[in-house]
Structure formats: structure tokens, C-alpha cells
């Protein structure tokens, strides 16, 4: 499923002294099956933008298309958009409310009007995707779970809608390193096995570099860059000037290159290891 955004602008508290333009003439396109990263400093408009992609916010001007459907036209039913575009908010565990994990995850499918059989299938599927054991966990109260498990249940609540496009707003905030890697791994797997289009908002350049195919960089409500990670992270000075950075591995490669080592671009630990080994070994053979 594809997303097309045309000249989107949004102004908070229009016509008051607090008026603030959070999105300023934003246009881009995302193809079916892409894994996209959205980065930008605090207040650059990331959360505002993603809420426009499933119709939770109405543009001040501009249009949003999901598979050619203008989501804000009168003929489009909002529910079908929200079924297609799943949105996981920051700290999603704060939205849990049911007495059991099963019922909480089933809330979305129920709203879609599915029958009980299908609802159960969906809950199984969703809990499975976030690596929670259905039989073990379904009757437990979500409030008795650990932080990482709560986060997973909340994400499952969105996955149970079987969205074709999944948007996550900083899904790993507050988790320890292992929890972080596990959740990101599950998202990656979902993308690969189910061919879901994923948009990931994150402040961690390391995670973005490791996972995504394409990056959108935002600054003050505008898109300043859309490109492959290898291209974006080449611009470390520009990124720093707008309050962002590059992964440590990339920084290392850049500084080594400045010292005259023949090292190409690196985005991950693995890249850096191979590149450095290559350089060191070729020196030895001289």
C-alpha cells in the first residue's frame, strides 16, 4: 500500500497568539513495502505528520492519499483508513484498559465488527508477532505485566487490526537495550514476512541506520531530506546543524577517512568491522 502526501500544512491554534505552524508544505511519497525512518529534533513535527497519515488530524491545507484514496474527502470512511493504517503512539502501554490481555488486544478487531472466530485468530496472530505466548498470557491483566510486556501487548493491539501500513512513534522509549533490540527485531520480521509498509519515528540514529531503507529528515515542520541512509548519513555536518547526529560507526569511518585510511561508508557495527579489517589486511599484504 502506498502513501502520497501533497503540500501538507498544519497550524496549531490558528488565529490565536499561540499560533504555530507545525507542518509547512510537506510533500513525499512512500511505496508499497518500504521501511521508512522519520527523524528530526524535538518539535520538528514528526508526531503531527504521522497523525495526518491515518486521518486523526485534518490538514490545514494539502492532501493525503492512501492508495489513491484522498483520506479527507467526504466519501472516504475513516474506519477503513484506520484499518489500513495502524498507528502506535509513544508509550502505547498508557492506552491499555481491559481486564485481560485478550480483551485489550481484541478491542481493535471488535471495533471493526469482526466475528468472534476471526477476532480470536487476530489476537493469536498479533501476540505471536510480538513474541508473547497466547495461552500463557491471554487471561492475565495487562496491568500485572512488566514494562516491556505491556509495551508488546499495546503494539499487538494495533497489529490485530492487520494494517497494511504500520507507523510507530518511538516504540522503544524507556526500554532497556535488550528490550529495545527485541522489539525492533519483531518489527523488522513483521516487515519482511508480511510485507507491511513500516514508518518508524526514532531518535536513535543507530537503530534507524540498522533498520530502514529510506529516511525522511524533518526540521521546523519542513522535510529537508529524503534518501537512503547511506546518503543521508554522509551529511553529518548538516545533520548536526539541525540537532541530529550520525551513528558512532559512521562517525568512526568518517574520522578514519580524514586520517587517510581508505574506508567507505559504514552504517553498522558489521560494516565498520568488515571495512576496517579490509584496510588493515590489505596493508599487511603490501
Amino acid at each position: 500500500m502506498s502513501i502520497k502526501v501533497e503540500n501538507l500544512s498544519y497550524i496549531y491554534m490558528k488565529d490565536t497568539v499561540f499560533e504555530h505552524k507545525a507542518l509547512d508544505d510537506v510533500s513525499f511519497e512512500i511505496k508499497d513495502g518500504e521501511f521508512l525512518g522519520l527523524i528530526g529534533h524535538t518539535g520538528s513535527g514528526k508526531s503531527t505528520l504521522i497523525q495526518h497519515l491515518n486521518g486523526l488530524m485534518k490538514p490545514t491545507s494539502g492532501k493525503v492519499f492512501i492508495d489513491e484514496d484522498d483520506i479527507n474527502s467526504k466519501t472516504t470512511v475513516k474506519k477503513t483508513i484506520r484499518e489500513r493504517v495502524g498507528l502506535v503512539f509513544q508509550y502505547p502501554e498508557h492506552q491499555l484498559f481491559e481486564e485481560t490481555v485478550f480483551r485489550d488486544v481484541a478491542y481493535g478487531p471488535k471495533n471493526l465488527g469482526l466475528d468472534d472466530n476471526e477476532i480470536e485468530n487476530r489476537v493469536r496472530f498479533a501476540l505471536d508477532m510480538v513474541k508473547l505466548d497466547y495461552n500463557e498470557i491471554k487471561d492475565i491483566s495487562p496491568f500485572d505485566l512488566s514494562g516491556g510486556q505491556k509495551r508488546r501487548v499495546a503494539i499487538a493491539g494495533v497489529l490485530a487490526m492487520k494494517p497494511k501500513i504500520l507507523i510507530l512513534d518511538e516504540p522503544t522509549a524507556g526500554l532497556d537495550p535488550r528490550g529495545r533490540d527485541e522489539i525492533l527485531g519483531e518489527i523488522k520480521e513483521l516487515h519482511e514476512t508480511h510485507k507491511i509498509t513500516v514508518i518508524l519515528v526514532s531518535h536513535s540514529m543507530e537503530d534507524i541506520a540498522k533498520l530502514v531503507d529510506k529516511i525522511i529528515v524533518m526540521n521546523k515542520g519542513k522535510i529537508v531530506f529524503i534518501d537512503k541512509p547511506s546518503v543521508i548519513f554522509r551529511e553529518s555536518l548538516m545533520l548536526e546543524s539541525i540537532g541530529l547526529g550520525v551513528p558512532q560507526a559512521t562517525k568512526l569511518a568518517r574520522e578514519l577517512k580524514e586520517k587517510g585510511l581508505d574506508i567507505g561508508e559504514c552504517l553498522s557495527i558489521e560494516d565498520a568491522k568488515l571495512q576496517i579489517l579490509k584496510v588493515l589486511r590489505s596493508k599487511k599484504n603490501d
Binding site: 532497556d176 528490550g179 560507526a249 565498520a272 588493515l280
Partner: protein, 279 residues
Amino acid sequence: MTNMIKTESVKHEYTSHTGKSIMALNGIDISIEKGEFVAILGHNGSGKSTLAKHFNALLLPNSGTIMVKNIDTKNEEMLWEIRQIAGMVFQNPDNQIVATIVEEDVAFGPENLAVESKEIRKRVDEALKAVDMYEYRKHGPHLLSGGQKQRIAIAGIIAMKPECIILDEPTAMLDPSGRKEVIDTIMKLNQEEGITIVLITHYMDEAVNADRVYVMEDGMLVMDGTPKDVFSQVEKMKSLGLDVPQVTEICHELRKEGIKLPADILTVEEMVVELCRLK
């Protein structure tokens, strides 16, 4: 050297509402020196926050003792002295700001300590300058960024003239620039004012600056040492559900391939120097 905080076999047990009991701290012996910058790491639920709350008598141990500047935290008469000596900053900036104006919030602590009003004014101004937020003194806190709010929270503690500040994941909800603001502020307070810092965090790169790193697991301290000692044990850190800085891991991988590098590289700069030497 004098002790700031010293604990002896501290145990703490919670009873959850289902009646199950959880040993959140299971025999902690730690001694933190005056002026030290200590980082505490550990996965979710390992007991870090529980330990931190023992350092200023927000929680009392089931057994064992905690001495803050040689005052036993069980001594109820000294409760307010202890809390004045050891201030605490929490994770969520929104839930620790009391007042609707920045300077009023910073004044909250000294007001509770019955400091005289002229002196409070002076302390508030100094504290706001120390965290570089003086120009925001008349603002409403809800209009500030996360990093700015956390600095206000730190100013609120500094105005109480503490000797030690305990920060429980102060950067967890912030973006990279907000995190940097907070960490720079902490480092400055440690180096220039000599305030003892206890920093709890999930970000390994923040712990790199500490004098000493402790790692917790299931209510116990399982590792301690300088950042170099601790982070050079890459496999062990990973087995504890933690991480190491990316360069340290690259270095570790290269060493496995037989490249002769020191194990304890923590920064990009060190790594560049070492690799250039090999070349």
C-alpha cells in the same frame, strides 16, 4: 576521602497486590564517595529505582543499613536533613514540577526548608543560572521542551544546596539534544561544584563519563568498576541484557579477528588513535 552514601546488605521486599512478594533488593553493599560521579546500569526491573529511593529515605530497607553522610536513614528526626543532602530527580519531567511558573517551582524546595525569603531569591537565581535557564524564569513549564523541564527539575534540587544528586533515568523521555543538555549540566555540577552524582540510565554512552559504573541484576550488584573495566566485558554486558558503546563493540569484534587493539576503547577518538597506530 569521605563517604557520601554507604549501604550494608540492604534488602527490600515489595508485596504486590496479588500477594506475591518480590525481592527488589537482595543484599546491596555500595559505597559512594564524596564528589564521585557514579552510574548505575541494569535492565528493566533489576531494582535501580528501588535502590535510588533508599538513598534519600523515600524507602526504608527491610534489613541492612543506609548511611547518608553518616546519618542512618532510619533516623526519623534527621529525615529532612537527609533529603536536603541527597536530592532526587525523576524520569518524567512533567510529574515533578509543582508550580506554574519556573522560578516558583525552583523555590519550592527552599521554601519547604524554611529558608529566609531573600536567601531563597538568591538561591533560585543561582540555581537557574547553573542550569542555564535563567532567562526562562518567568515562563510556564508546560511550554518548555523536555530537556529544559529536566534542567528546571535539577535547578529545583540545586536550590536546596544538596551535596549529592540522584537522577533516576532523567534522560529516558528526551531526544538526543535534550539528553546532551541534561548530561552536560550534570557533568558541570559534578566538576565545578563538586556535587556527588548518582546517575541511573539505560544509555550506555552516558555512563562512559562516570568515575565508576555499577551494574545491577535481580536486586544485586553484579559488576562494578571504571567504565573501561565494565564496558570492556562486552559478552558479559550483553548477557545481562545491556549494551556497550558501538565503538567498543566494533573494537571487540576486531579483536576476535585477531587485531591487536586494547579492549577498553570507549570513544571514537580513542579508536581512531589506536587504528592509526596499527596502520
